[in-house]
Structure formats: structure tokens, C-alpha cells
């Protein structure tokens, strides 16, 4: 009789505990609120067969890839999780920004290198150009005005007077 009572008590406690935990478990299981948008992801990943951003690609592979992204969004995965899943399925080429190793490094290294080289060239050359143009201006200023003979000067004054100058 006692054993039966104990079993009933244990069952009751288990039922109460299950009822208390049920909402939390259900919430965790049903947490499929979209945490990413298709547009956002489409702009950052590639159609792997056509080598175009997924946002503009319309190939059969792109459509399949887009459907896969939609499925992952519907499962409530974040953008980072979706990108990781895409890499797992299609390899790193699916990412819009290539991974920074091997030949891909040029994508990251070259633009800043060219910018720095451009700025460096300007820093070196600009003062030189300024000095040169300043020297040219000074040289022009020091050149004496062409002299005019006295007779010619008189004739010029007369002409100017005649025309009312």
C-alpha cells in the first residue's frame, strides 16, 4: 500500500515538473523566428556555378541555393550560421569575400598597397612640384622688361596722344 502511495507521489511530482518545464522546452524547440533576411544573405554569398552574387543569379543552381537559404532562415538560423552551413555544403567559394590565403590574399593586400604607394608618391613628388613651380614664377618675375629706344618711346607717346590715350 505504502509503495503504491510513493509511486503515485513520484508520478505526481514528475507530472508537475513536466508541466512547469513544458513552456520553456516548447519555446526552445519552436524558436524559429527568422533572424536573417534572404536579401541580406543573397548580397554576401555567391552562386557557385555562375560565379555571380546570388542576389542577381538566376541559374538552376542559384535557385536551389536560394531555396536552401530560405529553409535555413525558416529554421531560425542566424546569418553567420547560414553562411557556415553554406560553406559546409558548397565550399568556401560560396562566400562573397574569399578566404584570406593563397592567391586570394592579393584581394586584401593589393588595394591598400596601391593606396599607400599612391600617397607615398604624392608625398614625395608634391613638394618637388611646388618648389619647381615657385622657382619658375620667381624666374619669370626677375626677367627685365624689354627696353625701348628713346625715339621709339617718343613716337609711341605721340601715337597714343593722337588716339586720345
Amino acid at each position: 500500500m505504502n509503495r503504491r502511495r510513493t509511486a503515485a507521489a513520484v508520478a505526481a511530482i514528475a507530472a508537475i515538473a513536466a508541466a512547469a518545464l513544458a513552456p520553456a522546452t516548447a519555446m526552445a524547440a519552436a524558436d524559429t523566428t527568422p533572424k536573417a533576411s534572404l536579401t541580406d544573405i543573397e548580397n554576401d554569398v555567391m552562386c557557385v556555378s555562375c560565379h555571380e552574387p546570388l542576389a542577381v543569379a538566376q541559374s538552376p543552381q542559384a535557385i536551389a541555393e536560394r531555396n536552401y537559404v530560405r529553409t535555413l532562415i525558416a529554421q531560425g538560423q542566424t546569418k553567420a550560421q547560414i553562411e557556415q552551413a553554406l560553406v559546409g555544403q558548397y565550399g568556401p567559394a560560396v562566400l562573397g569575400k574569399p578566404p584570406a590565403h593563397g592567391f586570394n590574399l592579393t584581394v586584401y593586400i593589393l588595394p591598400p598597397l596601391i593606396l599607400i604607394a599612391g600617397i607615398g608618391t604624392l608625398v614625395l613628388l608634391l613638394p618637388k612640384w611646388r618648389r619647381r613651380s615657385k622657382a619658375n614664377a620667381e624666374a619669370r618675375a626677375t626677367v627685365p622688361e624689354p627696353s625701348i629706344a628713346t625715339a621709339d618711346a617718343h613716337r609711341l607717346d605721340e601715337e597714343l596722344r593722337r588716339y586720345g590715350g
Partner: protein
Amino acid sequence: MRRLVVPGLVIVAAAALLALLGFGVAHQGSDSSIDAAVRNGHLPMAPSANVALPVLGAAGTEKLANLRGKVVVLNVFASWCDPCKAEAPILEQEQRTLKGQDATILGVTYLDNSSDSEKFVRQQHISYPVVRDVSGNFVRSFGTTGVPETFVINRQGKIAALRRFQIDSKWLSQTLPAILAQKA
């Protein structure tokens, strides 16, 4: 002389950038060396034979090296590709014939997600082994740029025939008997 330094540097930089562009473009292009070798009868060894690829829908991996001694019809496909759907029943039928001749078809999924590939395998009632090439490096080593493509690897592990587009029963019946008849 000093006046030539800056234009010279600019020209060198431009030439370097052009060389880099050329290198990048050259490495993007398709490799047709396997096609040429097979055409000329200098059968090349199947590349990446020791690369282990995950088996679709199951644990474990498979590699070409494990199939040495068998004739392998390597079929690169994707679930989204219509010609692949069209040739799948032909390949499945061929697999039944090949089983008894120490030969097999080996499917390789390319640019496809595993759930779609598994669905494709179920829908097409495919019974031959299928592996996944997630990175695409294995498939690219065969000079593949699209799907479907099919390579027949002989018992010595050499590529004896290939087709860079959809296969049909006629091609299989013309290609396979001679390769199957060769001894290891």
C-alpha cells in the same frame, strides 16, 4: 635620367598589375589537358585518386584509390541539373550490368547541397555509391567546369574515356565493352 624614374616606376607597376591579372585569368580558365591526352591515346592517371570524399547520406569516406582494379564510371552530377536527371536512369540501369563485371558507377555531387542530393538519389532510385565533393577541388582536378560530366577509369586507374556533357546508352555501349575487357 632622373626624369625617367617616376614614369619608369609607373610603367613597372602597371606591367606588374597586368601580369597579376593575366595569372588570375589563366588560373580561372578550364583545363583541357585530360581531354587532349585521352584523345591522343596517352591515357592520364585519374587525378586526386587518394582524396577521400564523404559518402552521401552515410558516415565514412570513399576514394578512387580504393577502387583500383575495377572499372569506374565516375559521374559528376547535381540535383538541380536537368541533363543529370535525364541520364540518371541510364546510369542506374548500367550499374546493374557493371556489378557482375568488377566495375561500378561512382556518383560525385558537385555544387549541390546534401539534402537535395539525397532527395535526388531517392527519387532516381540510385543504387550505386555517391560521394560529395564539397570544396569542388576533386572535380576541378578533372578539368570539370559544369555538370554532368562522366569519366571512365580503367582497371589501371587511368582515364580511358570521358564525356563533358550528358551521356546516353549508345555512348556507354560503345565505350565500356573494350575497357571492361582489359585486364588489371
